[in-house]
Amino acid sequence: MKSYKLITFSLFILTWITLVEAQLVKPIFLPSLIDVLLSLKSMLFSIEGLKDVLFTLKRTVIGFFIALVIAVPLGVSLGLFRRLYDSIEWFIDFFRSVPVTAMFPLFLVFFGFGDASKIAMSAWACGFILLVNTVHGVWSAKKNRRIMAQTKRATSFQILTKITLFETLPFIFAGMRIGISWNLIVVIVAEMFIGTSHGLGHRIYDASIVFDTPGVIAGIVIIGLIGFFINRIILKLERKLIHWEGHT
């Protein structure tokens, strides 16, 4: 960790300890760091706790990949066929403006109370972000590159696979990073309110009912870490695959 990051992290921890030790905040609002660490330990070193983490992770990742597999090819097609996009723009703009949480009941009707509805909701939330980003990626492709290929009598398929898709990649990755965060949010909220036997949302909700604030914060820390590391993985992949971004 770089020194300035270490300083801000230390300051954050120090502020927390000071607030608790000076009794400036009641423990129900802000428990001690030790209590939170103990809760974290019991969560990560118990079968039930690990199951919660893995279930949340599974729903998030599956939802993300479903969104990716549907939204990216659809986005490329819509980007290429402007009229098609124009004809369904109202649908995209309408449904991406509606919070997926407002559609909980509909998802329950269609997919039931099990994992399917939670995964479908997360895929829905992430899918629109990926879709819009992909469409704009296709539109942002440099005209000169297409002209260059056209003058060499490249086929439309060659232009798509050798130029347009590469030009769209930075936009897809930006969408992936925003989308995965939304995925996680929707999965957690769904776990809290739809009901499930396992999941971090469910664990946080249960802890809050019995005023177990260390348990709530431990859950939040785990969620934050999951989001942080998934984002890091995508960022690493992005830097490796789209090495030219920022240089052109």
Partner: protein, 249 residues
């Protein structure tokens, strides 16, 4: 033998003529410079010849065929937007061969032979963004040359480069053009560049754009930068500029 023939070409946007009755002939192996002020329709003319824009009226033939039936090279002013930054310089140069289905080994070999033939110090395994502006434009030029096109269109390709890179590339272009017998239509608004490169300079007027005069340029080749200081060069330069001032602008 005529390589390019354009007759009575017209193009308008919103009922305003951008090009009106443009006539142009280029012989095989000739380097012709289209010279004119900014916005006179030079790029539109190139795009129509390349088959990218549809003309309203007129006939265009390249090697006797429709433009979209022939392989055409196109070098842009903005090399950054035309090179493929996800490919190395070597892969960029070999790109047109890939489109025709030539195997990777064969196309890389052909690209390397071309580079060696003209003794070009290019960082082949670097990506374009790791190369200088001059190197990138040279990669763009070689990419257009490698597929042996019937015609190469060049739209102010050196105008965004440093003076030293410009000088180097002008000399290299002449060398490549001469040795490979290329047919080139080069657009410029720099009279020095036009006279250094051209067999013929075609002067284009604005509003609407059309070719109003041609000047033959008979200086000995290869034409290097010191040619600019010769009496004949200055005299022809003056003649064209005076014509522009009097009859075109």
């Amino acid at each position: 033998m005529q390589s390019v023939s354009v007759q009575r070409l017209c193009k308008s946007y919103k009922s305003k003529f951008v090009l009106k009755n443009v006539n142009l002939d280029i012989k095989k192996g000739e380097l012709v410079v289209l010279f004119g002020a900014n916005g006179c329709g030079k790029t539109t003319l190139l795009n129509i010849i390349a088959g990218i824009i549809q003309e309203d009226r007129g006939i265009i033939k390249i090697e006797g065929k429709e433009p979209n039936k022939e392989k055409i090279g196109y070098v842009f002013q903005n090399y950054r937007d035309s090179l493929l930054p996800w490919r190395t310089n070597l892969e960029n140069i070999a790109f047109p061969l890939e489109l025709t289905g030539i195997t990777k080994n064969r196309r890389c070999k052909k690209a390397k032979v071309l580079i060696k033939e003209f003794d070009l110090p290019l960082p082949l395994n670097n990506y374009p963004y790791q190369s200088s502006g001059g190197e990138q434009q040279l990669v763009a030029l070689l990419r257009e040359v490698i597929a042996e096109p019937s015609l190469i269109l060049m739209d102010e390709p050196f105008s965004a480069l440093h003076q030293s890179s410009k000088e180097y590339l002008r000399v290299k272009l002449q060398e490549i053009w001469k040795k490979l017998g290329l047919t080139v239509l080069f657009v410029s608004h720099d009279i020095t560049e036009a006279l250094q490169l051209a067999d013929r300079v075609l002067v284009m007027s604005s509003n609407p754009g059309r070719i109003v005069k041609q000047f033959n340029v008979n200086f000995q080749r290869p034409r290097r930068s010191k040619l600019v200081y010769s009496k004949q060069f200055s005299s022809l330069r003056k003649k064209i500029l005076l014509y522009m001032e009097k009859d075109v602008l």
